[in-house]
C-alpha cells in the first residue's frame, strides 16, 4: 500500500450555527486519485476549502477536527493548527493547490493571462518577471496551449477548454505535490471534457502529482479515480475502491447515483433520476439524511443517523448494512 499524503479526521465545519460537515474523514495516499462525489451542496467544496484553508470568515471548524499532511514522508503537520503565515508560505500552492470550479468565470476578465501568472508569483514573493514568464511558458506548453499567444490574451479571447487549461497551469505554478480539482470538467462539452481528462492524467505522471477530484458526475470518476468517497448532506456515506463502487455499490445513494447515468441506446431502461431535491442543511430530516429519497428506508432510518462503519472492503453509513454486521 502506498504511504499516506493527507489524512482528514473528524472534520466538522459550521456556517454560523448550521453544521455543513459532519465528522468527515478520509485518507489520500501518495500518487493516487481520490474522488469525492455528491450532488451540489453536499459539502465537497467546503471540504476542499477547509484543506486549503480558504473557508469564508463565517465558517468555524470543530475542535476535534484535524487535517494531517505528510510533507516529504516526514512527520505529519496538522494543517488546521499551522499559523496562517507559515501555511501560506510553505503549504498553499507550494504543496497543495486547487483548480477552482467554474472555468468560465474563475479568471479575472480585466487582465491578461500573463498578469494572472505575475499575480500568483507576487503573492508568493517571486519578483523576477523573466523567471515568471519562463515558468508560465513551460506550463502553458505542458497543458498544450500556444503559450505565446495565450499569455498575451484576455480571458474572453479563450474558449472554455482553453481557460480550464490556463487554470490548471496556474495551479501547477509552484510545483505542488497535491492538486485539488473542483469540478474540472463541468460546464465543458463532452469532447472538451475528454481532452481535459487526458491532459490531467498526463500531467499526473509527468509531475508526479496526487489528485483529489471533486465532482457530481459519477461517470467521470470511472475514468480517472482510484478510490471514491460518496458524500451526502455533509457526510461520507460510502467509501471504497473505484471497482467496488462501480461493480458492487452498497449504499442506496451510491446505487441511485450510478443509475442516474443514461446508457447509450438503452431506450427501455432510461434512468429515473433521484426523486426529490438534494438535502438542505437548514432543514435536515431526523435520522439518515437520505431517507426521504431512499427507496429502502425503514423506521430506524427515520430516527437514527447511521454511523460510518468499516465492512473490510469499504466504509458505509447505512442501517441496512449495520444490521448485517451485528447478526
Amino acid at each position: 500500500m502506498r504511504e499516506p499524503l493527507l489524512k482528514v479526521r473528524n472534520l466538522d465545519v459550521y456556517y454560523y450555527n448550521i453544521r455543513v460537515l459532519h465528522r468527515v474523514g478520509f485518507e489520500i495516499r501518495r500518487g493516487e486519485v481520490y474522488a469525492l462525489v455528491g450532488e451540489s451542496g453536499c459539502g465537497k467544496t467546503t471540504t476542499a476549502n477547509a484543506i486549503l484553508r480558504i473557508l469564508p470568515e463565517i465558517a468555524r471548524i470543530g475542535n476535534e477536527s484535524s487535517i494531517l499532511y505528510y510533507k516529504d514522508g516526514r512527520d505529519p503537520v496538522d494543517l488546521l493548527k499551522l499559523p496562517e503565515d507559515e501555511f501560506s508560505r510553505d503549504i498553499r500552492w507550494k504543496e497543495i493547490s486547487m483548480v477552482f470550479q467554474g472555468a468560465l468565470n474563475a479568471l479575472n476578465p480585466t487582465i491578461k493571462i500573463k498578469a494572472h501568472f505575475l499575480e500568483t508569483a507576487k503573492a508568493h514573493g517571486i519578483r523576477d518577471k523573466k523567471e515568471v514568464y519562463k515558468r508560465a511558458y513551460e506550463l502553458l506548453s505542458a497543458v498544450k496551449l500556444e503559450a505565446d499567444r495565450v499569455l498575451e490574451s484576455y480571458p474572453i479571447e479563450l474558449s472554455g477548454g482553453m481557460k480550464q487549461r490556463v487554470l490548471i497551469a496556474l495551479a501547477l505554478f509552484l510545483n505542488p505535490k497535491f492538486v485539488i480539482l473542483d469540478e474540472p470538467t463541468t460546464a465543458l462539452d463532452v469532447l472538451t471534457q475528454r481532452e481535459i481528462l487526458f491532459l490531467l492524467k498526463e500531467l499526473k505522471e509527468k509531475f508526479d502529482l496526487t489528485y483529489m477530484l471533486i465532482t457530481h458526475d459519477i461517470a467521470l470518476v470511472a475514468d480517472i479515480a482510484d478510490r471514491v468517497g460518496i458524500m451526502y448532506a455533509g457526510r461520507i456515506v460510502e467509501e471504497s475502491s473505484v471497482e467496488k463502487i462501480f461493480y458492487d455499490p452498497k449504499h442506496p445513494y451510491t446505487i441511485a447515483l450510478l443509475r442516474s447515468v443514461p446508457q447509450i441506446g438503452d431506450f427501455k431502461r432510461l434512468p429515473e433520476g433521484i426523486p426529490g431535491e438534494p438535502a438542505d442543511f437548514r432543514k435536515l430530516p431526523p435520522g439518515c439524511p437520505f431517507h426521504p429519497r431512499c427507496p429502502e428506508a425503514t423506521e430506524i432510518c427515520r430516527q437514527k443517523v447511521p454511523p460510518l462503519i468499516d465492512l473490510g472492503d469499504r466504509k458505509i453509513a447505512c442501517h441496512l448494512y449495520a444490521k448485517e454486521k451485528v447478526s
Binding site: 473505484v242 447515483l257 431506450f267 433520476g273
Partner: protein, 327 residues
C-alpha cells in the same frame, strides 16, 4: 404530412472579429443551415461549444438577424409580417435559457416573475380566468408544486433544479407553439437532469409544442424517444441528421462517432481502452479548413476532403450525412 411550425432555410449568420486596428474579419458562425420542426415534435440539435447551435436557435427566435436565409413561422416569413402577425409569432416563440443562475431576476419572487408575464400579455382577458389561477396552473405543471410553497420565494431560495423549472414555467406560461431549450440541464447535477428533461418532454406532449432542444449531451435525447429527429452540428454546419436511434447506435459521420466516443462510460475497465478519435480541438471559425470542416481533425480524411466541402445528402429515408466517404 403535418404542418411545419418553424422552418429555417439556408441560414447564414456572419460575425465579425477585430483583426488589428480598424480591420474586421468576417466568419460564418452558422453556415447554410436548414431545419424544419413539425407541429408537436422535437428536434435535437447537438454539437460542441462553438459549433453555432445557440446562434442558430436565436435566429429562429428572431433574437439575431441572419446575414442570409429565411425563417418561416407557420409558413410565413418572420421578416415579412404585419405587426399583428409578428406579435402573434413573438408570443408563440419562447426560450428556455441555459444558466438558471444568470437568467433569473434575483429581486423578483417566483410568483411575481410569472405574474409580470401574465399581466403584460393580459392572459386573464385572453383566457377569461383569474390571473393567479394561470400562474398557479403553470407552476403545478412544471413541478413547482404546491404553488403556495414556492410563490413567495426569491430565486436564491431555490435549488438549481427548481430555478430551471421556473425558467420552463416562464417560457410556457404563454402557451407558445415553439420553444427553444438551450442546454437546460448543463448546469444541473447528473441526478436531476433526467427529471428536468422528463418535465420538458411531458410539456411538449401536453401543449402540443414544437421544441428545438439544443445540447451536447446526446444521451439525454433518448428521453424523447428513439424516433426523435437529431441534427449534429460542427463549425456552423449540419454534418449528420437522423433519428436518435440511428445517431446513437449507427453513427455515420466521423464527427458523430467522436462525439459518441467522448461520452463518459460508468465502467472503470473502459478507461484503458478508450481513445480520442479526433486530433486537436475545435478550431476557431476564423481558421475554418477549406473543404470539409472536419478535414484537419478527421482520421479518415482523404485528398478530396481538403478540397471540396461535402454536401448534406440523403443516404436512407430520414437520414442525411455530409461526408465524402459516404457519397
Amino acid at each position: 404530412m403535418s404542418e411545419n411550425v418553424i422552418e429555417a432555410r439556408d441560414i447564414v449568420v456572419r460575425f465579425y472579429v477585430s483583426a488589428g486596428l480598424f480591420r474586421r474579419k468576417p466568419f460564418n458562425a452558422v453556415d447554410g443551415v436548414s431545419l424544419a420542426i413539425r407541429k408537436g415534435s422535437i428536434v435535437g440539435l447537438v454539437g460542441e461549444s462553438g459549433s453555432g447551435k445557440t446562434t442558430f436557435g436565436k435566429v429562429t427566435l428572431d433574437l439575431l438577424r441572419p446575414h442570409k436565409g429565411d425563417v418561416l413561422f407557420r409558413g410565413k416569413s418572420i421578416y415579412n409580417m404585419t405587426s399583428q402577425e409578428y406579435r402573434e409569432y413573438r408570443i408563440n416563440a419562447q426560450y428556455i435559457p441555459q444558466d438558471p443562475y444568470a437568467s433569473i431576476n434575483m429581486f423578483r419572487k417566483v410568483g411575481e416573475a410569472l405574474l409580470d408575464i401574465a399581466r403584460y400579455h393580459k392572459l386573464d382577458q385572453r383566457y377569461g380566468v383569474d390571473i393567479m389561477d394561470i400562474v398557479r396552473d403553470i407552476m403545478i405543471r412544471v413541478g413547482l408544486s404546491p404553488p403556495e410553497k414556492y410563490i413567495n420565494k426569491y430565486p436564491f431560495q431555490l435549488s438549481g433544479g427548481e430555478r430551471q423549472r421556473l425558467s420552463i414555467a416562464r417560457a410556457l406560461i404563454l402557451r407558445p407553439a415553439y420553444v427553444v431549450a438551450d442546454e437546460p440541464t448543463t448546469m444541473l447535477d447528473a441526478s436531476l437532469k433526467a427529471n428536468i428533461v422528463k418535465t420538458i418532454r411531458d410539456m411538449v406532449k401536453e401543449f402540443g409544442l414544437s421544441l428545438l432542444y439544443i445540447t451536447h449531451e446526446i444521451t439525454l435525447l433518448q428521453y424523447f424517444g428513439p424516433e426523435t429527429e437529431v441534427a449534429v452540428m460542427y463549425l456552423g454546419k449540419i454534418v449528420e441528421k437522423g433519428t436518435v436511434k440511428d445517431i446513437l447506435l449507427d453513427p455515420i459521420h466521423p464527427y458523430t462517432k467522436a462525439l459518441l466516443a467522448a461520452i463518459p462510460v460508468p465502467d472503470p475497465k473502459e478507461r484503458y481502452t478508450r481513445k480520442v478519435l479526433l486530433k486537436g480541438s475545435i478550431p476557431s471559425p476564423l481558421n475554418r479548413p477549406s473543404g470539409c470542416v472536419l478535414s484537419d481533425r478527421c482520421p479518415f480524411a482523404e485528398a478530396i476532403c481538403k478540397k471540396e466541402p461535402p454536401q448534406l445528402k440523403v443516404v436512407s429515408p430520414g437520414r442525411e450525412v455530409a461526408c465524402h466517404l459516404f457519397s
